[in-house]
């Protein structure tokens, strides 16, 4: 065992010789030599049958505990109704069934686990055994043998000689996966201009998302934040989720003199302005409004927009302002859109 000292002398020609004095030609005993496997030390259980008996009882006890755990699991499953809530300190109000099933299952499993490990550690032989390793690579003879087999096989196939077969085979193999790629075409429609348009169009009434009633200018107080959606869009609609994902609107009323951006003021109505609720970063709905600063914050990635200044980005990862919807008031005194958004809402994309 002492002829090999780790990686001391094991230096191949790929590496310069190892540092240190271990490669000297004078044969001196190496003070750092590998001492070899230390003699095996016996445990109490190996020499004292009483201790071994004790270990046996502990292991059997743990396996027994596991059986009790499983029985307890079944009992809890039968006893506790699925909707029973109990108070357990310090967890608070928890589902009695979930709590009891989880813990009894844990006892059933841990009993087996701890028992098996204790068995292995105290009663099974812990004598360390040495096994030899073998290099992964073949010796020269085998390598040459395989090389000859390969050459014979390749020659018999004529692969190298009959170039026409080889070339056409490569071509065929390269083309055939295309069939699979083509099949993926119907995974979805082409984008076309779908991301450019929303449900908003000229004359569409703004509906308050919370009350489901048309929004009137007098409903919008200075400093409040209101969410709106286009008239006609119902939660039960087949495409409700897709439409609301683009059309969701955020309405605030600013004092007209607070609005710094002239176009913003023109596109609003008496200081009421409507912006897309969908963040221009990656599309989260924006929902946190600071009425004093007129900032809105996206709770997902903290992009912050200044609603008094054309919703420009003042902080965070968003790349461009929130699109504004041009609004006015119709004959009934309801807020209406004067058209669709001028630019696509939501995250930016290549064709934008």
């Amino acid at each position: 065992m002492s002829d090999e000292t780790g990686s001391h002398n094991d230096v191949s020609e790929n590496l310069p010789s190892a540092h240190g004095g271990h490669s000297g030609d004078v044969v001196k005993p190496d003070p750092f030599a590998n001492p070899g496997l230390p003699p095996h030390e016996y445990r109490r259980q190996d020499i004292d049958e009483k201790a071994a008996k004790h270990s046996e009882r502990v292991v059997a006890g743990l396996f027994g505990l596991s059986m009790l755990g499983t029985i307890g699991f079944i009992a809890c499953f039968v006893i506790f109704p699925v909707d029973k809530i109990v108070y357990i300190f310090p967890f608070g109000h928890v589902s009695a069934l979930n709590f009891s099933l989880g813990l009894t299952l844990a006892v059933a499993l841990l009993g087996i686990g701890v028992g098996a490990v204790h068995w292995a550690r105290t009663l099974m032989s812990d004598e360390e055994i040495v096994d030899e390793r073998h290099r992964a690579d073949a010796d020269d003879e085998l390598r040459e043998n395989i090389r000859q087999q390969w050459i014979t096989g390749a020659r018999e196939s004529g692969f190298g000689r009959r170039k026409l077969i080889r070339t056409t085979m490569y071509g065929a193999m390269a083309l055939v996966p295309l069939a699979g790629v083509v099949l993926l075409r119907d995974l979805g429609p082409l984008p076309e201009d779908k991301l450019r348009h929303t449900l908003w169009s000229k004359g569409k009434v703004l509906i308050n998302s919370n009350t489901n009633r048309p929004l009137r200018p007098e409903d919008v107080a200075v400093g409040s934040l209101t969410f709106a959606q286009p008239e006609g869009l119902q939660e039960s609609d087949e495409d409700f989720q897709q439409q609301i994902a683009k059309a969701a609107l955020m309405i605030v009323r600013l004092k007209p003199e607070d609005i710094k951006d002239k176009q913003e003021a023109d596109w609003g109505h008496q200081g009421i302005v409507a912006f897309s609720k969908i963040c221009t970063h990656v599309g989260c709905p924006i929902s946190l409004y600071e009425q004093q600063t007129h900032h809105v914050l996206c709770p997902c990635h903290q992009s912050t927009f200044d609603l008094s200044d054309g919703a420009r980005v003042i902080f965070g990862p968003a790349g461009h302002p929130l699109p504004q919807l041009r609004i006015s008031v119709n004959g009934d005194g309801n807020l209406v859109a004067l058209g669709d958004f001028a630019v696509p809402v939501g995250p930016a994309f290549w064709e934008r």
Partner: protein
């Protein structure tokens, strides 16, 4: 081959188990397989169980996952909720969400299995990262194990996507927000972003398809690939035999430990039940992903403090701290503010994947290694690993910048700027610090070898001098502290040959030599004590 009858001298199998074995051996060659494996030797070290944690949590995931498929409806058709959970009465939701509610509130034990499944997923991926770091810092990835390193890395990579597709299935408000984030990120891809998004979601986001599509990816495609990789990973561990730390009797040519039958079977088999038991207890006591408090997904609603599962926090950090760069030209938009983070995410993971090949190229080391390194003896590698982890954790902070801000009353702007600067500075800093610590530990090892262990016993000599008693190390300790090789860096030789003509060296070779100097040079290694030094000191001083 002629037909052979069994030799008459062959002992008749008597035990039924033995007869089954005989039967199988006659058909599958069971005994030949068992010959080298039944008493296979496995070295013992606590860190070798990290991989086992991953293996067992994967098995638990399969078991609980199959159970969940019996009750879950991977459908986005709309239903109105009329179940026992009062706050959601009459609320519209997808069938996926409703069936998850059903599992949580009406199926007995359903909530427990859901929670075991989710906890096991978190532990699975955490286990893989810690296991990977163990292999990394001890150099366990070196020849002949590079391929197994890649298998393991791919398992981690696929595991993250399996986790993401899995927690998106209930279609709740939190996971839906995560899917929206993913869609926004896909849209940023130049040229094909909108096409990818339309094809993935079957039309506009969110559409009616992604739950069923994620479902087949989550329960069939990814676990299938992972089961294959996992099997290959285990076969290679058996084939290569496990690595071992330096120690008495341990060499590059042997493996020292206890046999598969019985010790390892009992310990590893028992450990499966330990992992399962602990996860069950956690699932009983700690609620995870309470989808009923979040509500069903609607694209126009969101909750504050939205966080992905922890392993996605790293990509979340990238996306949060990146400045919102957008380049608009010729009617097109290049969304760098989203696309760069989307690309850095796999690149950072790739950096660690290819490391074994980079290191082997730098050092020119093509030998087999079965004795593990002590991390201090390879300061550059250890420093790189710590720098990589630092990057990971800095971005994790960035991913939770809102949580950090509210819990520690910090400015979110300040945290974001800290992460932006830290992304570049902290890995360099931690690399440097780690290297210094490694060198310090090497000095300490050298000192211990030459002067022995400090015992803390102070002795006063007759002439009044105080000395501390140093105890010489045992032969095993001496060996362990000096067992590592200290190769010299690659030397390109003199710049000019003996005739004064400049030698041609390719820039690649120059780079390799430079990196090699960095890796093995004087700044990365404290020369370990030589036998001469050791003898001089131990002979000269006698014992203290």
């Amino acid at each position: 081959m002629s037909t052979t009858t069994e030799s008459p001298s062959r002992r008749q199998a008597t035990h039924p188990g033995e007869r089954i074995a005989e039967w199988t051996d006659g058909r599958l060659g069971l005994y030949k397989l068992a010959k080298s494996n039944l008493r296979k030797i496995f070295p013992d070290h606590w860190s070798f169980m990290l991989g086992e944690v991953c293996l067992y949590s994967f098995v638990i995931l399969i078991l609980t996952g199959v159970y969940l498929t019996l009750f879950f409806h991977p459908s986005m058709s709309e239903v109105v909720y009329h179940g026992p959970y009062a706050p959601l009465q009459g609320v519209r939701m997808s069938d996926a969400y409703a069936s998850t509610m059903h599992i949580s509130f009406e199926v007995r034990g359903g909530l427990l299995v859901r929670q075991i499944h989710h906890w096991a997923a978190l532990i699975f991926i955490a286990g893989m990262i810690v296991h990977m770091m163990r292999v990394f810092f001890t150099g366990g990835f070196r020849k002949p194990r590079e391929i197994n390193w890649l298998f393991g890395w791919t398992l981690l990579f696929l595991g993250m996507f399996t986790g993401f597709t899995g927690y998106s299935l209930p279609d709740d408000l939190l996971s839906g927000t995560g899917v929206r984030f993913m869609e926004g990120a896909i849209l940023s891809t130049p040229l094909i972003g909108t096409y990818l998004s339309m094809f993935l979601f079957g039309g506009e986001f969110p559409g009616h398809d992604f739950v069923s599509r994620f479902y087949s990816v989550h329960i069939l495609l990814l676990p299938g690939l992972m089961a294959g990789l996992l099997t290959a990973h285990l076969i290679l561990i058996f084939y290569h035999k496990h690595t071992q730390f330096p120690g008495a009797g341990k060499t590059e040519k042997n493996v020292v430990g206890t046999p598969l039958l019985p010790i390892y079977t009992a310990k590893a088999g028992g450990f499966f039940f330990l992992v399962f038991g602990v996860i069950s207890a956690i699932a009983a006591m700690v609620t995870i992903n309470p989808i009923w408090t979040m509500g069903p997904y609607r694209p126009d609603q969101v909750s504050t403090g939205a966080q992905p599962d922890w392993y996605m926090g790293f990509s979340e950090g990238l996306i949060r701290v990146m400045p919102g760069w957008e380049i608009r030209a010729w009617g097109h938009t290049l969304v760098l503010g989203v696309f760069i983070p989307l690309m850095i995410f796999p690149l950072v993971l790739m950096a660690i994947a290819v490391y074994p090949f980079v290191e082997s190229w730098i050092t020119g080391d093509k030998r087999e290694h079965h004795i593990l390194d002590r991390p201090r003896n390879r300061p550059v590698r250890t420093g790189f690993g710590v720098a990589w982890l630092t990057l990971y954790f800095v971005l994790l902070i960035g991913g939770g910048n809102d949580i950090w801000a509210t819990h520690f009353h910090l400015s979110i702007n300040a945290i974001t700027w800290f992460v932006r600067i830290g992304f570049f500075v902290l890995p360099v800093l931690t690399y440097w610090i780690t290297k210094r610590i490694c060198l310090g530990l090497q000095r300490r090892d050298r000192d211990k070898v030459l002067h022995g262990r400090e015992t803390g016993i102070i002795k006063r000599l007759p002439h009044g001098e105080f000395i501390e008693v140093h105890e010489p190390l045992s032969q095993q300790q001496l060996h362990v502290l000096t067992a590592h090789a200290q190769p010299r860096p690659i030397d390109l030789g003199p710049e000019f040959d003996e005739n004064g003509v400049a030698r041609k060296t390719s820039p690649v070779a120059k780079l390799q030599a430079r990196m090699s100097r960095n890796f093995y040079g004087e700044n990365s290694a404290i020369p370990k004590p030589t036998a001469e030094e050791f003898e001089e000191i131990t002979a000269g001083h006698g014992h203290h």
